[in-house]
């Protein structure tokens, strides 16, 4: 439970930065950080206060082989999401002779099963690079949550857009409700890595021409989420 009382919140932030929270508490804070601006602010202050203490740790050259390992991991991450392993090998072995057609049919069936879409996310930033919205893929669509809901300029609305990589014109995903929460159905959008997500300021009812007409308020780039 993240406290709302400012003093208790600050004490929690301090112990989080100090490192004395246990695993469960630390995980709770880590989960709350992207969606709790007050907590984020308090943690940032404590990081700034205590950061010089890390100079008390004596610098030590890392093991020589470590960089190679990091490069391998970076390359792994850059590759497209691996195809999920399909367990047909034992079947092939068991039916070494005979039922080839059946097995092939079964394999084809398994290959055709849609793979779970990879999780992607991004944080939409303001023109001053302040985080404003968290965007996550959800059941083949998208879900957005405002980090810091603020009133929209009166007489205007916010409109959500997606620009797939390589495309020249963004697709409208609808208007952004005041609640600061948006769900985009899978039919409207097919999230993919590199897709730009942006929110623009538009006249009431949204852009009349199907393309953004107002300034970009928030923008971000979908990237695969780490599974860890």
């Amino acid at each position: 439970m993240i406290p709302s009382d400012p003093e208790a919140l600050d004490a929690l932030a301090a112990e989080h930065v100090l490192g004395t929270l246990d695993a469960r508490e630390a995980a709770e804070v880590a989960r709350a950080l992207p969606v709790n601006p007050a907590l984020r602010e308090a943690v940032a202050h404590w990081e700034a206060r205590l950061a010089p203490l890390s100079d008390l740790a004596r610098p030590e050259p890392p093991p020589a082989a470590l960089w190679d390992r990091i490069e391998v991991s970076l390359a792994d991450r850059a590759m497209p999401a691996p195809v999920r392993p399909i367990r047909v090998a034992p079947l092939w072995k068991a039916w070494a002779v005979g039922s080839t057609a059946l097995a092939a049919g079964l394999a084809a069936f398994m290959l055709l099963r849609p793979a779970e879409p990879p999780r992607m996310m991004t944080v939409l930033l303001t023109s001053r690079d302040q985080p404003a919205w968290v965007v996550e893929t959800e059941g083949g669509g998208l879900r957005l949550a405002s980090l810091n809901p603020r009133p929209v300029e009166s007489g205007r609305v916010q409109q959500l857009w997606a620009l797939p990589p390589g495309a020249t014109a963004p697709i409208s995903l609808g208007l952004v409700p005041e609640s600061g929460q948006v769900s985009v159905a899978p039919g409207l959008v097919r999230p993919e890595p590199g897709m730009l997500i942006e929110i623009t300021l538009e006249p009431p009812g949204g852009s009349p021409i199907g393309r953004p007409t107002g300034p970009i308020l928030f923008i971000g780039n979908l990237t695969p989420a780490r599974s860890s």
Partner: protein, 182 residues
């Protein structure tokens, strides 16, 4: 000690990583790797575990570089916090909470001269003065937690004090520090 005039500015390196510049991450690793490995090693006191921590921290830096905001703090502090948090998570996963003490820690950590190293960087003199104004065991608890990643229980065992006392002290010490630095 690296010459601060010649050393590349961490914030600049992070920006280059965010921009996807070729070789930027390697330059950042070369410039900051020893400092970050030192931070992880002080917490984990095991070279293999510290290497795992630095590995994960560098991947996190690569993934999050675009989120670094120079207006909100120094690059070195941002990198240090990532390395610390990865190392702390690893320490927790390795059962930090159940350890009562760690002979590998030694005494050097909280020696008074460690604090003098803080003052070497001039802008840190204030933090040193504030720490110096705390009661010795208050200060020691805070340093053991921050620099060495010790849990409340480990600090209590090391200082031979009841757990509740240590928790209250740390809390009070942090409040004093906040007031002093304000």
């Amino acid at each position: 000690m690296p010459d601060s005039h010649a050393a590349p500015d961490p914030a600049e390196l992070i920006r280059a990583v965010a921009a996807g510049e070729t070789g930027a991450l390697r330059r950042l690793y070369d410039a900051q790797g020893s400092r970050l490995f030192g931070i992880a090693l002080a917490i984990l006191r095991d070279r293999d575990a510290a290497a795992d921590a630095l590995h994960d921290a560098v991947l996190k830096v690569a993934a999050r570089a675009a989120q670094f905001d120079p207006a909100r703090g120094e690059g070195a502090a941002w990198l240090g916090a990532i390395a610390r948090n990865v190392a702390l998570d690893l320490a927790r996963a390795r059962g930090r909470e159940t350890l009562s003490d760690d002979p590998a820690l030694g005494d050097a950590a909280v020696a008074p001269e460690a604090l003098d190293r803080l003052a070497a960087a001039q802008q840190h003199g204030r933090l040193r003065d504030c720490l110096a104004s705390l009661e010795a065991r208050n200060r020691e608890s805070i340093l053991l937690a921050f620099v060495h990643g010790l849990s409340h229980a480990q600090i209590a065992a090391r200082l031979e004090l009841p757990l509740g006392t240590v928790k209250a002290w740390i809390r009070r010490g942090l409040l004093r520090l906040k007031g002093c630095l304000a």
